[in-house]
Symmetry: C2
Subunit: 430 residues, 2 copies
C-alpha cells in the first residue's frame, strides 16, 4: 500500500526521536493509555511510521507556551518525516488534513511544530483531477502566451456599486489589463449584489471583446455559503465570465473543491488569512505544503504575495512560494502563482532575477489605478517593467529606457522597500 | 445600518492608535496609495471604524517576526475594538471571516495580532438558524436530562473493520454509554467504508434500542469532500442514526454549514487543527470568537478539551471555552460543549467546581475502555464521578465513597496532571 509522507519542523523539550514517536502515535492510535483491540498486526498495518529524524540546533527558550518543561533547559529542534499508509484515509482531502495536522499542535511534547511539506503517493494522480486550467488554461483564456499576465484589483475594497465597478472595469479594459479581480472584501454585499455586478461588468467585458477581440478575465469573488457560491458561479458562467475567485481559508477545503469541480472556469484562490497559519516560524505550516492541498482540490491560480511587498513577508519566502507553485505535483497539477501587494513594476527585475519565470499573474492595484498618468500608463509601465526584466535589465537601467515605468518610479519607488538580501536556504527554516 | 464588532489583542512597534487605524484601513480600503473613486462619502458609509484602543503593557521583544522595527525599542500591546457596517458583507459567513481576519495577520504594523471576540448585530438572529439541536435537542435524542452525557471514542483511531467497530459499539452500549464517536482519523477509509460501518453499527444500536429503550447516539465521522459528505449524512439518517461528526477546520465553514443545514441530526464539531490557530498567545484567535462562527454555521456540539488534559492547554483556557459556549449568542444558538482528552472521571469534581454546569458531553476514551474492571465499570466510574461532583464532593471524598471511581483512580490518577491554579482573567491574555 502506498504511503503519504509529511515533513515537520519540530521543537521539543525532550529527545527528538521520542517526540517524533509521540507524533506518530497520536495520529494513528491516539489515546493516553493502551486499549484492548490495539493488536500488533493492526499497528503494523495502520500505524504512522517515523521515517527520519534529523536533529538541528537546540535553543534555550521554548518557541510556544504549554510544552513540558525541559530537564536539560534546552529545546531540541529537528526535521522529522512521518508516513501513513493511504489505507488510513483514502483520497479524502479533509481527512488527510486531520491526519497530518489534526491534534498535533496540541501535544505538550512540542514547543514548536510546523508542517513543512507533504509528499503524496503517485496513486493520487488517478484520484485527483487537480486544476482544470492552471497556467496554460489561464493563458489560453486570456490570449497571452509570452509574458506575465497583467492584472489589477478593484479598489476601494468596499462601497462601490455594480455600476461604479462596471465603469472602472471598462476603464481598466481600455487601459489594457489582462485580468481584473474583485477585492476579497467584496463578495455579495447588499450594496453590490454579485448577480447585478456580474451582469453589469460582463456587459462591459463582452462589449470590449466585441470591439477589440481581447477578452479581459474578471475574477468575481463568489466566496459565500455553499449553495449561494454555486449560484454565483453559474451566474458568472452564464454571462460569459471566465474566472471566479474564492477566499480559500474562509470557505475551506470541502467548499473550494466543490467549486473547482464545476470545471467551467478557472478558480482564483485568494489566501487571505494565511498569515495566521504561517507567520510564527515554529507553528502552522509552510506554503509548500499549503499550496499542494489547494492544487489537489483543483485551484488554478494561487496568491503568493510579491517581492518588496507591503506586508511582513521576506522576499526569500515569496521566492520559495513561487518555486513551490512551479514544481510539478504528481507529474503536473500546474497552478499559476499570483504576485501582488504593493507592486507597480519596480519589483519586476528582481522578481525575474530570482524566479526566472514569466509564468505569473502579476497584480498591481494602486500601481495601475494611481499611476500619475492614469491607468493606461500604469499598465504600460508594467509591460515595460517585464520586458526589461526578461531582457536582464536592472531597475535603474529599465527606468532609464522606459518612460511609463520612469513616471511610476517617481511616485511609487519611495513607498517600496528595498530588495532583501538572499539567505542560505537552510537558514529559512529558523 | 447595524455593525459587527471585532475585538483584537494587538502588539505594535508604533503607536497603538496608528496600528488600529492601519488595521481598519486594510480591511475597508486596502491599497498602499490613495486611489481615485475613494470618496469621503464612501469612506463614511463603508470604512471600518476604530471603536476603542485600550493600551496594555509594552514589551521589549516582538512576539512575531516581520514587523517594522520599533524606534523606541518597545512593542506596545493593546486591546482594540473595530467595527464594520454589515452593509459591507451581509449575512455571508466566509466573507465575514475574510473581513475580520483576512490580510490582517500580514501587516508589518503588528508584531502580534489575535482575534479575541466577535459581536454580531442583532439582525443576524433572523439571518442564521444556528444549531438545530444544541443542548436540549441532544439531550432529548439521548434521553438524558439531569447529568452530563457520557460519551466515548472508538479506539484505536484507525485500523478497525466495520465489524470490529460494531462489536465494540455493542460492548459500549451494553456498558451504558450515552454517546459514541468515531475518531477524527477514521472517516471513510478503504478498510472501513463509512456506508458499511454505519449499517453494521446502527444494526447494533437499533437492536440495543429495541431491547432496552435506550438509543445510543453515535457520531459518525462524515468528514469528506462535499458530495460524499452529504451522501454519508444521508446514509446515517437512513439507518436511524442520530448524529454526524465533522472535522471543522479540515472541512471549512462553507462545507460545515451545508452539512448543518441538512437539519436532520445534530452535528458534532471536532476542532482538530485548532492548536495551530490558538497556541501562540499573540497570533490566531481565541476560542470565544471561534465557537461563535461555528454556532452561526449551525454546529450543535463543539470540542473544548478538558481540565487536566493530555494536551498543552491550561485549565483556565478550558474553563473560559466552556463559559463561552454557555453564553447565549444572539439570544440563543445554544451549543453543547464536548469535554475530552485524558478524562476518566477524576477531573469531574474540578470541572464542576469551576464551570458549575452539567450541560456537557463528557467524553472518555481510554478512561472507559481501559478501566481495570472493563467498560461497564468505566461508565459507572464516570456516573459516580459526576454524581459526586454535582454534590460538591472533592475527588478524594468521591474516591472514598464510590468503588468504580476508586478502581479508575488506582490506574489513571498517576497519568493525570494536577489541577492548575486559577489566574486572574486579565492575565489570561498575556
Amino acid at each position: 500500500m502506498q504511503r503519504l509522507v509529511a515533513t515537520y519542523l519540530i521543537e521539543t523539550p525532550g529527545e527528538a526521536a521520542a517526540a517524533a514517536a509521540a507524533l506518530a502515535g497520536e495520529q494513528s492510535s491516539g489515546t493516553f493509555v493502551a486499549v484492548p483491540g490495539e493488536t500488533e498486526a493492526l499497528k503494523a498495518r495502520f500505524a504512522a511510521r517515523v521515517e527520519s529524524v534529523e536533529p538541528l540546533e537546540a535553543v534555550e527558550q521554548p518557541s510556544l507556551p504549554g510544552s513540558r518543561a525541559s530537564e536539560t533547559g534546552r529545546y531540541q529542534r529537528a526535521i522529522v518525516r512521518v508516513s501513513w499508509s493511504i489505507e488510513n484515509f483514502g483520497a479524502n482531502l479533509p481527512a488527510i488534513v486531520s491526519t497530518v495536522q489534526g491534534n498535533l499542535y496540541e501535544l505538550p511534547h512540542f514547543s514548536g511544530l510546523r508542517l513543512l511539506d507533504l509528499d503524496f503517493p503517485s496513486s493520487f494522480a488517478d484520484e485527483f483531477v487537480g486544476p482544470r486550467f492552471g497556467v496554460a488554461g489561464t493563458r489560453r483564456l486570456c490570449g497571452v502566451s509570452d509574458r506575465p499576465l497583467i492584472g489589477t484589483i478593484i479598489k476601494p475594497s468596499v462601497g462601490m456599486s455594480p455600476a461604479d465597478t462596471a465603469a472602472l472595469v471598462g476603464q481598466l479594459a481600455a487601459a489594457g489589463v489582462d485580468f481584473v479581480k474583485d477585492d476579497e472584501l467584496m463578495a455579495d454585499p447588499p450594496h453590490s449584489p454579485l448577480a447585478e455586478r456580474v451582469e453589469r461588468v460582463m456587459r462591459v467585458v463582452n462589449d470590449h471583446f466585441d470591439r477589440t477581440g481581447k477578452r479581459v478575465m474578471v475574477a468575481f469573488n463568489v466566496t459565500d455559503e455553499l449553495d449561494r457560491m454555486l449560484a454565483h458561479y453559474d451566474t458568472v458562467v452564464r454571462h460569459g465570465g471566465t474566472c471566479v475567485m474564492v477566499s480559500l481559508n474562509s470557505v475551506g477545503l470541502a467548499g473550494v473543491k466543490k467549486v473547482c469541480d464545476q470545471g467551467a472556469v478557472p478558480v482564483h484562490g485568494h489566501r487571505n488569512g494565511w498569515g495566521m497559519l504561517t507567520r510564527h516560524p515554529a507553528l502552522g505550516m509552510d506554503f509548500t505544503a499549503y499550496q499542494k492541498l489547494w492544487r489537489l482540490a483543483g485551484v488554478d491560480q494561487i496568491h503568493v504575495n510579491g517581492l518588496q511587498n507591503k506586508f511582513w513577508e521576506p522576499d526569500d519566502s515569496v521566492v520559495r512560494s513561487i518555486a513551490a507553485c512551479r514544481e510539478p505535483l504528481l507529474g503536473g497539477l500546474e497552478v499559476l502563482p499570483v504576485v501582488s501587494s504593493g507592486q507597480w513594476g519596480g519589483q519586476a527585475p528582481e522578481t525575474y532575477r530570482r524566479t526566472q519565470t514569466t509564468d505569473l499573474l502579476y497584480m498591481a492595484g494602486g500601481g495601475i489605478l494611481a499611476h500619475p498618468d492614469g491607468p493606461a500608463a500604469g499598465v504600460a509601465a508594467l509591460h515595460e517593467a517585464w520586458e526589461a526584466a526578461a531582457a536582464g535589465l536592472t531597475l535603474q537601467q529599465a527606468i532609464g529606457e522606459y518612460p511609463a515605468l520612469r513616471r511610476a518610479a517617481e511616485k511609487f519607488a519611495k513607498l517600496t522597500p528595498a530588495p532583501q538580501e538572499e539567505r542560505a536556504p537552510e537558514a529559512a527554516l529558523r
